[in-house]
Subunit: 756 residues, 2 copies
Amino acid sequence: MRLPLRAATLILLGVLVVTIPIGHPRAAEGPITGFPGAQTDVQRELEARFDAGLNPDDLRTWMEHLSSRPHHVGSPFGREVAEFIAERFREWGYETAVETYQVLFPTPRVRRLEMVAPTRFTAALEEPSLSEDRTSDQKDEQLPSYNAYSIDGDVTGELVYVNYGVPADYEELERRGIDVAGKIVIARYGGSWRGIKPKVAAERGAIGCLIYSDPRDDGYGRGDVYPDGPYRRADGAQRGSVADMPLFPGDPLTPNVGATEAAVRLDLDEAPTLTKIPVLPISYADAEPLLAALGGPVAPGNWRGGLPLTYHLGPGPAQVHLEVAFNWDLEPAYNVIARLEGRERADQWVLRGNHHDAWVNGAADPISGMVVLMAEAKAIGALARTGWRPRRTIVFTAWDAEEPGLIGSTEWGEHHADELRERAVAYINTDGNGRGFLNMSGSHTLQRFINEVARDVTDPQTGVSVFDRRHARRLANGATEDLAATGDHRINALGSGSDYTPFLQHLGIASLNLGFGGESGGGSYHSIFDSFDHYTRFIDPTFEYGIALAQTAGRAVLRLADAELLPWDFTAFEATVGRYADEVIALTDDMREETERQNRLLHDGRFELAADPTKTYAPPDAEDPVPHLNFAPVRNALVGLAASAQAHDVARRALVAGGDRLSTDQAREVDKILFRTERAMTHPDGLPGRSWFVHQIYAPGFYTGYGVKTLPGVREAIEERAWEEAQRQIARLADTIRQVASEVDRATQFLEPAGP
Amino acid sequence: MRLPLRAATLILLGVLVVTIPIGHPRAAEGPITGFPGAQTDVQRELEARFDAGLNPDDLRTWMEHLSSRPHHVGSPFGREVAEFIAERFREWGYETAVETYQVLFPTPRVRRLEMVAPTRFTAALEEPSLSEDRTSDQKDEQLPSYNAYSIDGDVTGELVYVNYGVPADYEELERRGIDVAGKIVIARYGGSWRGIKPKVAAERGAIGCLIYSDPRDDGYGRGDVYPDGPYRRADGAQRGSVADMPLFPGDPLTPNVGATEAAVRLDLDEAPTLTKIPVLPISYADAEPLLAALGGPVAPGNWRGGLPLTYHLGPGPAQVHLEVAFNWDLEPAYNVIARLEGRERADQWVLRGNHHDAWVNGAADPISGMVVLMAEAKAIGALARTGWRPRRTIVFTAWDAEEPGLIGSTEWGEHHADELRERAVAYINTDGNGRGFLNMSGSHTLQRFINEVARDVTDPQTGVSVFDRRHARRLANGATEDLAATGDHRINALGSGSDYTPFLQHLGIASLNLGFGGESGGGSYHSIFDSFDHYTRFIDPTFEYGIALAQTAGRAVLRLADAELLPWDFTAFEATVGRYADEVIALTDDMREETERQNRLLHDGRFELAADPTKTYAPPDAEDPVPHLNFAPVRNALVGLAASAQAHDVARRALVAGGDRLSTDQAREVDKILFRTERAMTHPDGLPGRSWFVHQIYAPGFYTGYGVKTLPGVREAIEERAWEEAQRQIARLADTIRQVASEVDRATQFLEPAGP
């Protein structure tokens, strides 16, 4: 059946090419890895037909509907959203299922915040309806502002301002003689993922935690506030999860297993990812009287925000009473899973996902990405109706319960872990989308691949490729050294913050996260003002960047699904891991030097002499000297990986240049080795203290939350000054690198004339 | 008479040493340059007696009186201040004169600022009386907030926000399509000296200029505002001169000559240092409605200040009406000059100065420095009463009319130029003094000298030397490389901003500027709240840093006055000029690289591609390539200077080590050569476009105002891309360096056994 299909494709193209509007991308000239010879042209023609199936009016219509009412987990409209999406997938020809999990999702019963001294003030904790925003008045269905997985609590105490509330901030407080034990802390959003703030505050003995949006970071300091502009209003608040996701994401009661009805669940009081203290997010209008009432030392210069007051640290005289209580209910999470069976390697799954649940109406987050995924699914469905089938199976997924903690994707990933480890080729994620420049993050074995895609997608505003526009931006912003040695953009490593996490970091599936941004800043994130009105005024009014993202992610899906041989490349991976190794070695050297410097200054009494005796500013604590670690195992392993990566690249190019083809069975075998190299980057024991995270190259930081830590076992051990652990992790990392190299060698054997 | 004096000194010391309180500085052990052998001990004992004559109660009493009423130029109390100081000098045994000049000093007749569109608002332009500040209610005698040497004007126009109003800010505006021609600009204080703002605005065609104090830089963003804390209130404003002092300071009508009664004066309308457009300084309370009413693009991130609003650029819709008119009167400026005749080299003058005029009450600026100078004069007068006389003549000077433009010192310097060039050894300046760490700036031929002084003065808060405390601070703040190769602190080069300018930069007299600070921030500068109440609450309540400054500057005066041979050192000077040369060479290379990079990006259209097409952001202008300049003449001259400096140092040490002494006549000759080496750093033509500034190593920047430009002829020509001029200035700089080297060689000949 293969040849007739291709012929049909070619015949159809004669028509379709001329219908592509003028100004659309001229198909690029370069080869596409995995599509030898004429297959490149065939693929580009397929992609042109795919592009022709994308329609910005679809995106607009779907967004208007899907953001027309609040649709958080367990809400009435949330279910309708899932059903609407499932219905579309079915219409477009996908084998579609809604897979439901029962997940812990607390909603607020009591939210009370008042200042009880030195004056009284009761926080409003309320975002107002605006006539300029048609959905802002849906009070009955809106979740009020709160932080999910805060424990219940009723506490009163003196207030302390802790800046972003990261560990270094508490060290500064200590040097000023300020202890937060028994106090309530107020931290500003930013500097870390929000869930880190109550975690660190609790570690330091605080009894409650307020998180507010400072206008310098997220308000009038950024630009005009809504509805005059896109930024956060004084009364705007940021909802969000504060579960300890760096321990494990997903349902807090069912770590490692799918939260099916029958799953064995932890008791609520033993769930380790709930906070240890009550937490509440507040607006800057609510924060201002509290901060204005703080006494104590003036905050350090870089701790000061944009409110018109002098930031003080406290503690007190401001005292606050914080009370929160929640409905600790299980709610159904509806994942929509839509399959288009592959024609040849149906057991190889290319996964493409975006979540559908929102904190409130969620036009930007997540619907702007969701409608992109739907547009791709519709266009690919249309291709399939013409008789085309992908070589591999394509699986579109629309996740529920991402907002409270990547729950839909995590439970599905845990539930289907064995078949995913066996079959998943890669996972392509999107989430909210904006206007501007393509952001590409993910597995570096796919760096070359996604750069090829970026060269083939046209930026809607300028008519050059999104690759070139991104390059221009970086150069214009002053970057001197920019592209990797290969001429590709360096893609960023993934930490956490969206649904790639279970696939990449728990299951070892190569992942990419894609989106546009940089010209559509705003402050609607996790507020009631993340609405269709806001999105279509300020973010991507024409949905042209929605189309550009569909062209990007759609090409990624189509190429991964159709390539004769999966387009994995290990040279960029090896170069990247080499750079990370340089970083952790430099980190150790810098820490050693800084520790020596600091201990010498302590010994010489310089800190006491430098301090203003009218203020409390104690010297830092002395630290044990930083030993020299043996990084040789990693260096040696990298030498091996470099050789393996190089040999693989040479063999692959030679195969294409020679016009040789593997048999289907051989290709299938090589594919399996290639896509499972990401599994080889995992270790069954996981990272120290958090066994759920098994990837040894990428992880969210234990104290950064979303922010990535590359080579996490080694890097975090060094950062925590756990030298013996660091040395163990270095050995493990070397093993991991050797394991990857050995898999690469195994794949290469198939490509060589002699065969394996 | 010499020996009996010394004997008397030594006899007295037996008593005095035991009266020094415990905890005071143990006299340091090291030698003092210029005081060979036992003379070092004699000098240290003299300094101990000097210290014993310093009394913090004197400083407090004098400050309370001298800041009890406003005392600007031409005010009734200003005359009383001069007379009070003169009377004290006479009491203490000095030959004292009040030298009077007639100087242009405009005072406001009309000050009006109102917004006329889109809403109406009238600026208060008024600092209020506070019950916590006893002198704040002296409305009849206070000068209101204004900028001296603004021209009269009555203009109405659209408003544009120009950030700090430096040339780079206008380039950013241009890229955004904003032209200030015909507009009124509003700039925030900071980023340059205030007088640069109207100068650059006028160059760009603006018709008026407002300068406001932004609370982020100078208000609640820094700390608690007065009277809760020391920082600037919302209604506080900063007075100050806006004459074009980088052209020439002093009386605008009498450049280059003393403003005596008989002096020939320029007509007002040809006075080149008056502004070209009307200017008014305003408070942030007055600025807030204006900034809030601006439309147009949102200001770039680093342009945004601390007001609770989104900073926009305009132009308009805010329109303002600005009207200012002044009494253009000549006023008498009273300089108090007090001499203590030297016993041996009376024609060598050691000058020590501080100004006495203030914008209003001026407790910090200038009285905190003035009372330090008075304490030194009193203690030295007391030494003289015991029979001691300095080897050289000491001249204490209290300047009037510093605030409007360094006028008293400049007119005196111009008036007495010939004898000063002949006789002035050095000029030691102070101005407002604070608490904390010693700041040392000035001529690098005195770097070693002033470091020796700093090692011998005890920090009152910690009991270590002020040298060590400053060192501790730098190390604790993270400086890795800190001291110069000699083990000395590197002193900063002087730009402008106080009375050293005429001496250093017009007359070529080696100068130092000294003061403590770093622990006494505040926002009283040039406001009615620079009061005794403010100073004694927030700046130096015990006057212990006033005493420390008197010990520092007093030692400098005593050592310069008494040294057997003046303590000039050229090795630090050579090393410093070498570093400056490295800087200008690197500057040229960086400009070349940046120009190439930018022109390449322009050629490739990268700026257009990077720009958000929904906003105006034009590419920067293409620049001509930066040629390679021939810096070899400077490098070669520096090689020569290094050899000369080294030979001088060796000869000087050999002389001391050998126990040899020069005859008095020989020493006098060497002295003259040494102190005139600073004259050798000048060129009679001055700097391009500003002949008043003749020093070739240090000058205030033409576009920075107070900020120094070292090697100014070369550096500013490069910055302005005037390549031929740069090459000419390089040749001139090389000549200057050779001229200094030749003078050093001439001095060295006297020190060598063979003699000259």
